[in-house]
């Protein structure tokens, strides 16, 4: 349950597949143009409800509530051993290998 004043993310379909631009590639054309935007919730609501939010520029936008206090989930990924080894090799070329 999200409460009025919560920071949330909503989703809205901007164009249905049938409404999409003619110069859109076929695979994209089969999908709706969807928008996500965040803001402060103007009413209480559950995930999946149609709600209104006030965005950071003060616009009121309506859409389906998809996330409460949405987190940035991107990170640094996994270590890439191939890159680590590339660094070791470049140092060897530049400064010479370590003596056994």
């Amino acid at each position: 349950m999200a409460q009025k004043g919560d920071w949330v993310k909503i989703k809205q379909v901007i164009l249905e597949p049938s409404e999409r631009s003619e110069n859109t590639p076929q695979d994209t054309k089969g999908t709706p143009l969807t928008m996500w935007v965040k803001g402060l919730l103007l009413q209480d609501g559950e995930i999946g409800d149609t709600v209104k939010i006030k965005t950071l520029t003060g616009r009121v936008v309506e859409g389906i509530l998809v996330e409460i206090n949405p987190r940035h989930i991107h990170d640094f990924g996994n270590p890439i051993p191939e890159l680590i080894k590339a660094g070791i090799k470049a140092r060897e070329i530049l400064y010479g290998g370590e003596e056994e």
Partner: protein, 464 residues
């Protein structure tokens, strides 16, 4: 009429109100338009821009000599020689990229003209730059991003840029892939009455002239001469255009300027399936080639970024080479920077080996890095999307299928794109759009816009 067509039909009127530029004034009725007049009358002088940028904490970034990478280039060079490699550390701008040079001028203009806010359609560093400048100037800001595929999955690099915009207090509109981003942009401009902080206005492009100017001055101060070559990562064309104009204004008229893009041949930029099969969101051939051969495809009637006017060469590098070079920059130079500048750095590493030891090649930008924008994040994401990460010869890389990290630094290659072909297709596109040249003005314009001669233009036209 569909809601899409309805808004698109009002395009010109929305654009005019949101930019305050009457592009008609510079039109000839044919192919030609008065480019320099447009840059002069709607923009600001270099001196004014320097002042605007100083007040916005933009520019005057350090120039760093990459001594270890230069040494490595000499060790692997077939001749044993390589030019000195320098890099302009544009990550030192407030939002972490050279894009703030563009944003600072656009937003200064928007504020002067009394706009309450600005809108920029971009998934790149420009969004963060606009958001940062808007925060500094007390303007409202909306950034419209193409962020997700239809599964709602987004590239970590784009998500990071969205986060940064939000940090500066901007409203971030995230969309699924498709050309209708422009439609959403128009709707928002109409709804809010905000300024269109397009990348392609005279303000946006003139803002980069200071970058070229600073490079010329700093290199001369440090080495006693202007650089022999400046390499610029090329996408929409503004970076190269502005830098070249700035170099010329500083008197560095003999400096060669090369564009570099990441080779993403075969991946469709507006395809839902291809969207997350590429590891670069800008600085690649999906923008670089169409914007060179048809600059006026932009979100303004006449694009101030006209790369073929200034480009002396155009080179491609592979995704794996850029990730590899990013790693080397960190490990050999102690500089952790994002992929954009490292695209031209990869090319510079190869091009330097075709030059003499006393020559100078400058990579004209770095960008900030961090979560999502780091090679580890991007390669992890690539693997999750079915891309194979291999070590071998980057020549064998197939965009969307694999990423090949070079087995040895000698395998990094700047692959030349024949400018002649790009010039030909630009001329063809002009004719397709406007019809055949009406008079000498059109021929002269095409010659200038392709950095060629009137004879060349006439010859191309006669072949059509």
């Amino acid at each position: 009429m569909s809601r899409y067509k309805d808004v698109m039909a009002r395009k010109n009127e929305i654009m005019k109100r949101s930019l305050g530029i009457d592009y008609e004034k510079f039109e000839s009725g044919g192919i030609a338009f008065e480019y320099e007049k447009m840059m002069k009358e709607t923009g600001y002088t270099l001196e004014e821009i320097v002042k605007i940028q100083r007040e916005a904490n933009v520019g005057n970034t350090p120039l760093i000599e990459l001594k270890n990478l230069t040494e490595l280039a000499r060790k692997v060079s077939p001749t044993g020689k390589a030019a000195r490699i320098f890099i302009k550390d544009e990550a030192c701008n407030p939002s972490g990229s050279f894009k703030e040079r563009r944003a600072s001028v656009s937003l200064y203009h928007a504020k002067q003209k009394g706009y309450k806010g600005v809108i920029a359609a971009t998934s790149g560093n420009y969004g963060a730059a606009v958001a940062s400048q808007a925060a500094m100037k007390g303007l409202k800001c909306i950034v419209v991003q193409e962020a997700y595929d239809s599964r709602g999955i987004g590239q970590p690099e784009i998500l990071e840029k969205g986060r940064k915009c939000e940090t500066f207090g901007a409203e971030v509109i995230q969309l699924t892939v498709g050309p209708e981003l422009f439609y959403v942009n128009l709707m928002l401009l109409e709804e809010t009455g905000y300024f269109n902080a397009s990348l392609y206005t005279p303000f946006g492009v003139a803002g980069i002239e200071t970058l070229g100017y600073e490079i010329a001055q700093q290199v001369k101060e440090r080495t006693g001469k202007f650089p022999d070559v400046v390499v610029a990562t090329h996408a929409g064309g503004g970076n190269l255009t502005g830098t070249a104009r700035g170099l010329m204004k500083a008197g560095a008229v003999n400096t060669k300027i090369y564009g570099v893009s990441v080779d993403l041949t075969g991946l469709h930029m507006a395809s839902d399936k291809d969207f997350n099969r590429k590891s670069f969101t800008t600085g690649h051939t999906g923008f670089g080639i169409p914007f060179a051969t048809w600059p006026d495809r932009a979100d303004v009637p006449r694009n101030a970024a006209r790369p073929l006017r200034y480009m002396d060469g155009y080179y491609l590098v592979k995704q794996g080479e850029v990730f590899y070079m990013t790693e080397l920059l960190a490990q050999l130079e102690g500089l952790e920077r994002g992929p954009a500048g490292n695209t031209s750095l990869a090319a510079a590493f190869s091009l330097a080996q075709q030059m003499e030891n006393d020559q100078i090649i400058v990579v004209q930008e770095t960008e900030y890095t961090g979560a999502g924008k780091n090679p580890t994040a991007q390669l992890t994401f690539a693997m999750q999307n079915g891309i194979k990460i291999l070590v071998g010869n980057p020549d064998d890389e197939i965009p969307g299928q694999n990423i090949i990290l070079p087995e040895h630094p000698s395998m990094i290659k700047a692959r030349e794109v024949y400018l002649l072909n790009l010039k030909k297709s630009y001329i063809k596109n002009c004719i397709q759009h406007f019809g055949l040249p009406k008079d000498d003005r059109d021929i002269k314009f095409l010659a200038e816009d392709t950095k060629s001669s009137q004879e060349f233009v006439r010859e191309i036209i006669s072949e059509l």
